[in-house]
Amino acid sequence: MRAGFGVEKRSTLSWLWQAATGVLLLPLLALHIIANHFVVTGGERNFAEVASYLGNPVIKVLEVLFLVVVTSHAMLGVRSILFDMGVPRRSRPAVSWAVTALGVVTVAYGIWLTITISR
């Protein structure tokens, strides 16, 4: 151990995950925005349109994938900002758990919503 700077890496994979989800987001987000707001008359889908859109199984998978990716990107970002805002080192695992839990709840809610609408 030199001068107290350790080599432990609890959070070092997070940058790579952030980058990987970011890359995935580029096509998924483009699809989401264009499909839902640009190729649609009036810029928004009415209820029937939404239901039929989500009825397509490929679209359903892609939208759920989008939800998972965007949520993990967002949670990693929130965690990184919280760490930068001075969360002490020993509280960091708790923060990680908290954002993970929030992310899981968010995704679960989104999936429930998707299923409810397209049913």
């Binding site: 700077f5 890496k9 609890r10």
Partner: protein, 257 residues
């Protein structure tokens, strides 16, 4: 500009631990061509011996006089009074950010130097086939001549370009947020040491340090360190290069498994 001496105003941050920081105004007569450090020396010699500031070489090789001048981190010894006076009136002089202030403009570099020690950077190294740092500043005809230097210089050594002034630590937004971060200079030091060392254990240890909790992944790519470095060390570029090395090593491991 005339050769005459002129009176120039400065406001200098005065501070002692436990007291409120305040800006104190000084007017000082300096010669044309004087640097900010000359002005501080003059204030110290003629007006106030209690003014605390670090200084040694007065020619940008020791790194002691790094401070914020008009809100920008610079070496006071090579910052012209005339230029600083045009930017802001009065010239504002403050200590570096992100390091504890001992008094007035003096920061405690102990934590910073401990990081440099962790990087194992030795300040002498074998010379590269070009004269370091100066290379970009050389006027083009001189640069052509430089190419000749490439041959036969294996026996020469060089001091590292990094003068350990702490400017990159002061400008770094990640450093401002995370006190476990090794910071730009130390990470650049790790990159340099890995270039120079022939010891694979040393090299692996340093890469692990760079990949660790206080390492390269805490950098937020603002490139401020590279933009502000008075010695063209390019810490950001070296941090990114370390990331590339880490990623390719991990990638390689993934497939060997």
């Amino acid at each position: 500009m005339t050769e005459e001496a002129a009176s120039i105003d400065l406001e200098v941050l005065r501070y002692r631990p436990g007291e409120q920081a305040r800006l104190e105004n000084f007017s000082v007569v300096v010669a044309a061509g004087a640097k900010v450090l000359d002005a501080l020396d003059t204030i110290w010699a003629t007006q106030d011996h209690s003014l605390m500031f670090r200084r040694a070489c007065h020619h940008s090789s020791c790194g002691a006089c790094a401070m914020r001048i008009n809100g920008r981190e610079r070496l006071a010894c090579i910052t012209a009074m005339a230029d600083a006076a045009q930017e802001h009136h009065p010239i504002r002089v403050e200590p570096l950010h992100n390091l504890p202030v001992v008094g007035d403009l003096v920061v405690d570099v102990a934590g910073f130097f401990a990081r440099m020690t962790a990087s194992d950077l030795v300040i002498t190294r074998t010379a590269e086939p070009e004269l370091p740092v100066s290379v970009d500043r050389l006027p083009p005809p001189l640069r052509l001549r430089q190419v000749v230097v490439a041959e036969d210089l294996g026996r020469f050594t060089r001091f590292e370009s990094c003068i350990e002034c702490g400017i990159c630590v002061s400008v770094c937004p990640s450093m401002a947020a995370d006190d476990g971060f090794l910071g730009p200079a130390a990470l650049a030091g790790i990159h340099r040491t890995r270039e120079a060392t022939r010891d694979p254990m040393e090299s692996a240890h340093l890469l692990a340090l760079a990949d660790g909790d206080g390492g390269v992944w805490r950098c937020h790519s603002s490139f401020e360190c590279t933009a502000s470095c008075p010695q063209a060390v390019d810490p950001a570029g070296r941090i990114m290069s370390l990331r590339g090395q880490i990623v390719s090593r991990r990638w390689g491991r993934l497939w060997r498994r």
